[in-house]
Subunit: 343 residues, 3 copies
């Protein structure tokens, strides 16, 4: 696969500078590039590498052009232009239209002829699989699942009964969608299961990372809106709603009935308690715990800074005395005040 | 599926109030209910919604009855009564008795005729599958695994050799039970594997969440007692013991040889270090880290509160000065004392 | 399976003491041992149990020998000797050489005749499977994956296209290797996928825990060097490099492009932010968050100590006043100074 710089420019709506006929056969990093590849620059901090890069072309902003020693594609949003160029070089999924002979498909499932059902899949009764959808090998869909067109489940994905997945979504291996929410009634010391009768509704253009789990709602549905991006190892509990275009990094945990706004960014390992609301446009930094509703956009954090353990231990012991310290400080202030009045 | 209110009352041992002949066809939330559904109220905070609910009946406590505008089921424990009612409306699992032709079952496996072995399962030598057990599609059992009666493995579950699962347990998709504990001996800078020869023993009425992992013991077994409920994405290390009816929310990590009591509640994302003991009746709040044995029941926490990152950053810098601040505070107290003595 | 003490001594290079002809049929813990088993002592704290142990032999250090009431194997590194002895008693994997008839193997895959491909596996085009490798049941390999000799994928493992796994590695059930890194370009409020074109390269003698995920690189590869041990539920993001013989406990999250040195030990639930470097020989304690490069070996921590929630709540409120407290403390010091000068 190869393209001239001019062809790439046309496809991504960028301006070619230099030898527009130069042939590009792949993408590379700025410092690791070889001739024949195209790379990109978004952060001016790395401008210094422009001189030494062996890439045949660099995607960059107008401002960075003077520093570029080779051919360029000038773009308003170089990262986006790079994403579009890289997509041209990405290999196609291991999939062909049709149902693999080893798949087990219920008679009542409706599968678009352009869809691909991989080896060892299990497709339950009344499932509906859209056009050009790819259900990768080892995926299991219980009854009544619907998969929108051009959505791909990579491999070993499990989707429980009744869940609806939108179009152009991508669900990575090991993800589980629609497992029971964690709902139990207390009965004389034991936990009695509360049946989880809602489903999961996942919008269009959603990405779900490897080994991520999204629980079905208790009564109503758990909802993941359009364009949401969930990284690996995330846990989304029952009745949660995640607003459109919100992104969550790996290992985040969201407790039941939390409602998260649109365009939020949740850092890796963060936790969000249940039954609270987060407005649009909130950023939560890594490993912070959200314990109450956030009613204004902005950046929020919790936690303490990393230190040498020896020093940390001394400070951490003091944390347990913090309330007492605050009282002593207040007392000192009073006493000093009195002393000053006297004196 | 439908029941009269009188039928439901009889099944769950509650008292019908109003039109006992009214027909209930499903469950709903208080605010989302439509006619023909039954809902429930447990928290008096939501009493205000009783007037507007379109539900045909509400399960509630005697105290809340005067505020109810429609039919009711009066129960001592409305949450429990709701769980029992909802179970009547829950769809049955996608399973039929017998072994699916695509399953691979060892000759020496003993499978009860009423059990269901799903598509693409692999059942190893000497496994024993109890009556009415459901081994969902894509599940893999190594040799010598036993599954108690009426236990269900939903899909894509892996159980390693020799693990024993009790009765009426429910293991969600992607769960792994019996993987090797993380045990290595140090040998001149490299790690040499210590074979993990124990198993996992899981009691009756246990629930294991999606993508949760429970490691086998190094020599003796990892033990999950009866009635334990584990949410999704939990990690239980080797030789851990979790006492009966303890519940853990998502993303908890329990390190090796921790012994956790009965009736504990471990919040989401909490961590429990190894080789420690937690007595019965302990609650640990979300994302707290248990670093030493807890010898008395109660509620325990660690961590700092969420703040605007700007403010948090200022406080977090001071955390590193906390020990120094405590010393300066002590010094001030001394100096003020001397000053007061003088003055 | 049984060995005399003399045979075991010879196999692990230890010195038998007592009845070298005594027969050992298994391993046990010091306190749980029965006659016919061998156990080990590494921590002098447990020396007291030597008197009461019913084991037929104990692996221990010379120093502990005088306290041993039974036969012994004296070894310089008893934990290592135990690992070697236990390996003799470990059951072999459920695997036979050859391709299971239910596996789906691409014509262009090259599989060593001594390798085992389990039931319901899917092996993509151009995969290369080395001698004595075991691909357990339900594993899925996309195209172009290579698996080194004597490496084992236990079950339900997914490996994406082009990833290379070394020799003698062990990958536990549910692990996902080579899923897309979490890379998106911003385009007017929406996230546009940046294709992830690198792979994962995993060295020799690596262990990957159950349900752990390792993302492929964006352009270049994610690299896990020789001898690395990753526990369960770990998330490794794109472009990360983990140095040889580093060990990570369960639930760790490593963000994109982090470079971690050799011989590091990362505690359970710890987080490592992206685009930073950690030198060789760093230890990070459980649930700490590494927010910047660590340029010197040593032990690092963050977080606050566990307390009764009531007390913790008081202290945690004060944390939000910490910067203000520091300012008040400084002011007090000044005022007292002035008072002292005056007085």
């Amino acid at each position: 696969m190869s393209f001239t710089l001019a062809e790439l420019a046309q496809r991504v709506g960028a301006r070619p500078v230099g030898d527009a006929a130069c042939v590009i056969e792949g993408v590379a990093t700025l410092t690791g590039a070889l001739p024949g590849t195209i790379t990109f620059l978004t952060n001016p901090r790395y401008r210094k590498h422009l001189q030494d890069s062996k890439a045949s072309a660099v995607i960059l902003k107008e401002d960075d052009l003077p520093f570029c020693a080779t051919n360029a594609l000038v773009a308003a949003n170089p990262h986006l232009a790079y994403a579009q160029v890289a997509a041209l070089f990405a290999p196609l999924p291991d999939a062909v239209p049709g149902v693999h002979p080893s798949a087990v498909v219920a008679d009542t499932a409706r599968i678009d002829p352009s869809a691909s059902i991989g080896a060892h899949c299990v497709i339950g009764a009344d499932c509906v699989i859209g056009a050009a959808a790819i259900i990768g090998p080892g995926c299991i869909l219980e009854h009544g699942v619907s998969i929108g067109s051009a959505t791909r489940l990579v491999a070993n994905v499990t989707i429980y009964f009744g869940c609806r997945i939108g179009q152009r979504s991508l669900i990575h291996a090991g993800a589980v969608i629609g497992s029971d929410g964690f709902g139990f009634a207390h009965d004389r010391g034991a936990w009695i299961k509360v049946p989880q009768l809602g489903a999961v509704v996942l919008g269009d253009d959603v990405e779900v990372g490897a080994n991520t789990s999204i629980d079905r709602g208790a009564v109503e549905d758990t909802v993941i809106e359009d364009g949401v991006k969930l990284d690996n190892q995330i846990q989304v509990a029952h009745n949660v709603r995640i607003g459109a275009h919100t992104a969550m990094a790996g290992c985040v945990g969201v407790a039941g009935s939390a409602v998260i706004g649109k365009h939020c960014a949740i850092g890796g390992g963060a936790g969000i308690l249940g039954h609270l609301e987060i407005v649009d446009g909130v950023t939560v930094t890594a490993m912070s715990l959200v314990t109450k509703s956030l009613k204004e956009p902005g950046v929020y954090s919790s936690g303490t800074p990393l230190e040498r353990s020896e020093q940390w231990h001394k400070n951490t012991v003091r944390f347990k005395q913090l309330d007492e310290m605050a009282r002593r400080l207040r007392l000192l202030e009073k006493e000093l005040d009195e002393l000053k009045k006297k004196g």
